[in-house]
């Protein structure tokens, strides 16, 4: 049974609460997943993804609240003229304040794109937030050097084009820019032959730095990446493993999905992975999942 909540000090934040289904509420921890706006999309999420996720979580005994930060979706603006730059990280904490009064004890913030950025900003110094689901967080891709971004894109499109019959037809009928294509291919070959290639693994450090606010506390992180974001990680062979080796970060890649997981099969991937991960929070990994050569957390899927 879903209900409307008016959250925050001014009751200006509209939230739709989907409580855990009767009889399924977990004990003793009471976890709630707070879903933040993805850009300007209102609280139902892109293609109603948040509604589907909230109801799937509820069916597994986990509560969820999808919210509109002040001034977005169905929420009016705040009366205190809080600068937009502060609103993104302050309001998630105010939502946590409000939900504490409803008996929740563990808080997971979920955001796509700008929502992920807000979630990561909010967790800094707030120990009540024990989980983050960061989907295609802009900061991660922003932190990659331009050359790396361009190379990642070139590799991605090259691989995709090789699987596309139309691209081959274009190649054979002169509908491509041959100079740009050969320049890109030559650059890739040079890079692969370069002894300094492994230095690129340092980009994993950049990713780790982005996650520092979460990892400094007791927060676990699910990084879900698709589209070009997945490309950045996929570019560096060791990047994903290094992140997972931290033990509290799990990475789920879906390179063929677009930025907002539009295709229904990609939405199903999104929902099932978030549900599984949230359910696993606070649980020790099963002994069979851990070995000397494996990491405690597993990647769910890759391209």
């Amino acid at each position: 049974m879903e209900e409307v909540l008016l959250l925050g000090p001014y009751a200006s934040i509209v939230g739709i609460h989907t409580p855990a289904q009767a009889g399924l509420r977990e004990a003793p921890q009471k976890t709630v997943v707070i879903m933040l706006n993805s850009g300007l999309i209102h609280h139902v999420g892109p293609h109603r993804l948040y509604v589907r996720l909230a109801r799937a979580l509820a069916a597994q005994g986990i509560g969820a609240v999808r919210v509109d930060l002040s001034g977005l979706g169905d929420s009016p603006a705040r009366p205190d003229n809080l600068p937009a730059a502060e609103l993104g990280f302050r309001e998630p904490r105010e939502i946590v304040d409000s939900l504490l009064a409803r008996g929740y004890e563990q808080f997971v913030l979920l955001g796509i794109c700008s929502g992920a950025k807000h979630a990561l900003q909010a967790v800094s110094g707030d120990a009540r937030i024990t989980g983050l689901v960061l989907v295609n967080q802009e900061a991660l891709s922003d932190s990659t050097p331009d050359s790396a971004s361009a190379r990642a894109s070139a590799q991605f499109y090259l691989r995709r084009s090789m699987r596309n019959p139309r691209a081959w037809l274009n190649l054979l009928t002169g509908k491509v820019k041959y100079r740009a294509l050969f320049s890109s291919l030559a650059g890739e070959i040079r890079r692969r032959l370069s002894p300094g290639r492994r230095k690129q693994a340092a980009l994993a450090d950049l990713f780790r730095k982005e996650l520092e606010p979460a990892l400094a506390g007791r927060c676990d992180v699910l990084l879900m990446l698709s589209d070009r974001h997945a490309r950045y990680v996929g570019l560096f062979d060791d990047g994903v493993r290094e992140l997972e080796a931290l033990g509290r970060v799990r990475v789920a890649l879906r390179a063929d999905a677009d930025h907002l997981f539009t295709a229904i099969k990609d939405q199903e991937f999104f929902v099932s992975n978030v549900c599984s991960w949230v359910r696993s929070l606070g649980q020790e990994p099963a002994a069979s999942e851990v070995s000397d050569t494996d990491t405690p957390m597993r990647t769910y899927a890759s391209e």
């Binding site: 409307v4 008016l6 293609h47 705040r78 589209d227």
Partner: protein, 284 residues
């Protein structure tokens, strides 16, 4: 009952919001039983007893719903500022309302419109209402209004009357998305459009379910807003004028708000002002 529970919640929290957010910015709630509950948002007029009829807004569906949300909220706010209570709601299986998209149907959505009109009348205490519909919502609103004697004014914003054109437009939107993301072309029979399922049952229902019935004798005025196809709008206007209603046509080239992605959403303020003004003219 969900509605009762939420009313208590809303009353409890309203005091906190009082004085911090204008009434016209809207107050959300659920109505109907939990299994079939509908999410709605009531935008109350800034001043009581304006004399204007309350307005129900029937939005677009599928990916168009998402793209038009901001504009429909602004429409509701502008109506409330002008003195009309305005109710927005999500059809079953859309937005925050109960149900999933795959089980949605035109018949179910028409029933939802009837329920929303009843809810609007109950909450405002007024007997007659105006209804604004957008895209499929416009067609469904006209169909629902034809079965009632309490709809005084009807605004049809780009009503859909041709299933083939609608499906072609949706499939083209999917194809544009696929091309932009380098996805190989889908099979000719699309089963989803920009993240929303397109079932065979829904396609069949579209083929036979978009006809505009003769309007109710209670319909006094109608406004047809078109975004280009003047001939189709004239045909709709002619149909609505059947029983003596006064019908106007408004053309606005830049009002195809459902074609723009949410991050690039347009609020067609000029057209919104025209709609609000037209409703005010009817009251005076």
């Amino acid at each position: 009952m969900q509605g009762q529970s939420d009313n208590r919640d809303v009353r409890a929290t309203l005091a906190a919001r009082e004085g911090t957010a204008p009434r016209e910015t809207g107050l959300p709630f659920f109505f109907r039983d939990p299994g079939s509950s509908l999410y709605a948002c009531l935008h109350q007029p800034a001043a009581e007893a304006s004399g204007l009829e309350p307005v129900l807004i029937c939005t677009a569906t599928g990916h168009e719903y998402e793209r038009c949300h901001k504009a429909m909220r602004q429409l509701a706010i502008q109506l409330a500022r002008a003195g009309s209570a305005a109710l927005r709601f999500d059809y079953s299986g859309t937005g925050d309302s109960a149900g999933d998209e795959a089980s949605a149907s035109l018949a179910c959505w028409r029933d939802d419109i009837h329920a929303a009109i009843d809810e609007l009348r109950r909450r405002t205490g007024q007997r007659r209402v105006a209804v604004i519909g957008l895209r499929l919502g416009a067609t469904l609103a006209a169909q629902a209004a034809a079965d009632r004697d309490d709809v005084d004014s009807l605004v049809l914003y780009a009503p859909v009357v041709d299933a083939r054109s609608l499906l072609e437009e949706w499939c083209e939107a999917q194809a544009v998305h696929d091309r932009a993301h380098g996805i190989p072309a889908s099979a000719p029979a699309h089963t989803e459009v920009l993240g929303y399922p397109l079932t065979e049952a829904f396609r069949r229902e579209l083929q036979s379910g978009l006809a505009l019935p003769a309007p109710s004798a209670a319909l006094r005025r109608a406004l047809v807003c078109t975004t280009g196809n003047g001939a189709a709008a004239a045909e709709v206007a002619q149909r609505l004028a059947g029983k003596g209603a006064s019908v106007a046509v408004e053309s606005s080239e830049d009002a195809a708000i459902w074609r723009r992605e949410p991050m690039d959403a347009l609020v067609p303020f000029k057209l919104i002002r025209r709609i609000v003004g037209w409703l005010q003219e009817g009251a005076s």
